[in-house]
């Protein structure tokens, strides 16, 4: 398990570091998308979650869900293009699940990717991702999760 400044960042996931999101190719070919533990730490407890509807086409780096924490509203930007095939009912009932377990229970949407290989090539994983997060945290003047 990778970590930077106390924030868990599993090395087997694919990250868009600027947008603070991860993607994971599942066995059925679909891609789970979620917020990083770093994003959760910056946001504070997430209290609302409105995903795009199932069947909706989403563009890479555009919003696939909107979340709210501490009266701040913002988009979750999907790192892969495709079609929303699942939204997370457990998160809808308890949005704080995203903070508690951002990489498993707290996934935001599942997407049927339009072109996984091409999108994945633009994302970072492993040591590259950890180094990029360290640089981002430095720029954000972030003390730690």
């Amino acid at each position: 398990m990778g970590a930077v400044r106390g924030c868990n960042l599993p090395e087997d996931l694919f990250y868009n570091v600027d947008n603070n999101v991860w993607a994971k190719r599942e066995a059925d070919g679909n891609v789970s998308v979620g917020l990083t533990s770093y994003a959760c730490s910056l946001a504070g407890e997430i209290v609302s979650y409105t995903p795009k509807k199932i069947g909706k086409a989403v563009e890479k780096d555009k919003s696939c869900a909107t979340v709210e924490s501490g009266k701040w509203v913002g988009p979750v930007k999907t790192p892969v293009a495709g079609e929303v095939v699942a939204i997370n009912d457990a998160v809808a009932g308890k949005p704080g699940t995203i903070n508690k377990d951002p990489y498993t229970q707290g996934w935001v949407v599942k997407i049927k990717p339009a072109n996984w290989d091409a999108d994945a090539a633009t994302l970072k994983s492993g040591a590259d991702a950890l180094a990029a997060f360290e640089a981002k945290m430095q720029a954000d003047n972030f003390k730690g999760c």
């Binding site: 709210e68 009266k71 509203v73």
Partner: protein, 370 residues
């Protein structure tokens, strides 16, 4: 830093507008800031009478829509978070559109705190003791005078607040579906204990220009910049504004979040103690199993009196299964004198209100709890 070398930000007053236009400008300016089409900006704005829900709220659950429609009060959805508010010509809105890097931190609560402290300093220049109350309010002696909220898009943020110059508390109670008691003199008096406005505090309404100037000076000092007034939005903003207005001035946007009224019951609880009668009106979010809002009244004695509103603030959005720990935690760190009243009495009052939910038909249909 000398004035000559200070960074210049833009100041714009978009005047009195209908809610849909003001919110379309939110969208337009945030996008324009994100795309680098406008500089960091302080905007002042005013509203024709409007009832505004937060981005994730449901209009039916938050507003008395019949009353709004009958009285020409526009209903709109903000792009920012937080709760429903009533906004009219007697209030001023202030908004900052900033590149996040300006703030030196990415922590959202820290950003809220910094901006609210600057706004509070601006209000203090007018002669009232305004203070930031975590997480998002500015208050004077426990009474809220400014509520705030934000939105972000990529590396840019919009942070906005209200400021009550005068305020019609009774109208607010009629517009919002809040857990007030029936619209009695008592409910209005009770609301007045929770909301402050500049006219009541100063004995006279300050001039609008003076209010804007005070806020602008404090933001300028807080950020170490100077403001350069702009007469109107630039071309790119106006284009974006017209595009956004078509989306926002539409029922699909206003009803973007729609949930059954039965999922947001209003209930009331009573608890007799040796120290007096405690009464609570609660708004509940059933699917999330949370207290949305609590409102305590009664004939008990506590000192300071503002303890009650601070407890209400602590209870906002509390999961029901964390009720005990939230109340215990609050009293552990809050010095208060209570006459024959214990922290557990507040928990019991809430539990009595919640008991009316179990098995009973849910209180429905926009009525205040009785």
């Amino acid at each position: 830093m000398s004035a000559a070398s200070r960074t210049s930000w833009r100041l714009i007053d978009t005047g009195l507008r209908p809610a849909a236009e003001n919110i379309a400008i939110n969208r337009a300016m945030l996008e324009a800031r994100q795309e680098g089409l406008i500089p960091n900006t302080l905007r002042f704005l005013r509203f024709l009478p409007s009832a505004l829900v937060g981005y994730h709220q449901c209009v039916e659950q938050e507003l008395r829509t019949d009353y709004c429609t009958a009285h020409g009060i526009a209903i709109q959805r903000r792009v920012t978070g937080g709760g429903a508010i009533y906004f009219d010509e007697t209030q001023i809105g202030w908004e900052l559109y900033l590149d996040r890097r300006t703030l030196g931190t990415a922590d959202m609560q820290e950003i809220s705190r910094r901006i609210c402290e600057m706004a509070a300093a601006g209000i203090r220049r007018l002669g009232v003791d305004a203070r930031f109350r975590p997480r998002n309010d500015i208050e004077v002696d426990g009474k809220k005078i400014s509520g705030t909220g934000g939105a972000f898009e990529g590396g840019s943020i919009l942070y906005q607040g209200t400021l009550l110059i005068e305020f019609d508390v009774e109208k607010m109670l009629r517009v919002l579906r809040i857990p007030a008691e029936k619209l009695s003199d008592k409910a209005i008096a009770s609301a007045r204990e929770r909301v402050a406005n500049l006219k009541d505090l100063l004995g006279t309404s300050p001039r609008r220009e003076a209010v804007m100037q005070s806020l602008a000076r404090s933001f300028a000092e807080g950020f170490g910049v100077e403001f350069e007034p702009a007469a109107e939005m630039n071309f790119a903003e106006r284009e974006k504004f017209h595009h956004a207005l078509a989306e926002i001035d539409h029922p699909d946007w206003i009803d973007l979040v729609s949930r059954p009224l039965s999922e947001a019951p209003l209930v009331e609880g009573l608890h007799r103690t040796t120290g007096g009668l405690l009464r609570v009106a609660l708004g509940i979010d059933l699917p999330k199993n949370r207290i949305k809002q609590a409102w305590f009244t009664g004939d008990f004695f506590v000192n300071p009196r503002r303890m009650i509103v601070d407890l209400e603030a602590a209870l906002r959005d509390t999961p029901l299964d964390e009720l005990h720990s939230t109340v215990d935690g609050f009293f552990r760190s809050y010095p208060v004198e209570m006459l024959q009243l214990r922290p557990a009495d507040f928990v019991q009052t809430i539990e009595n209100a919640l008991a009316s939910l179990a098995g009973a038909p849910l209180p429905m249909a926009g009525g205040a709890p009785s």
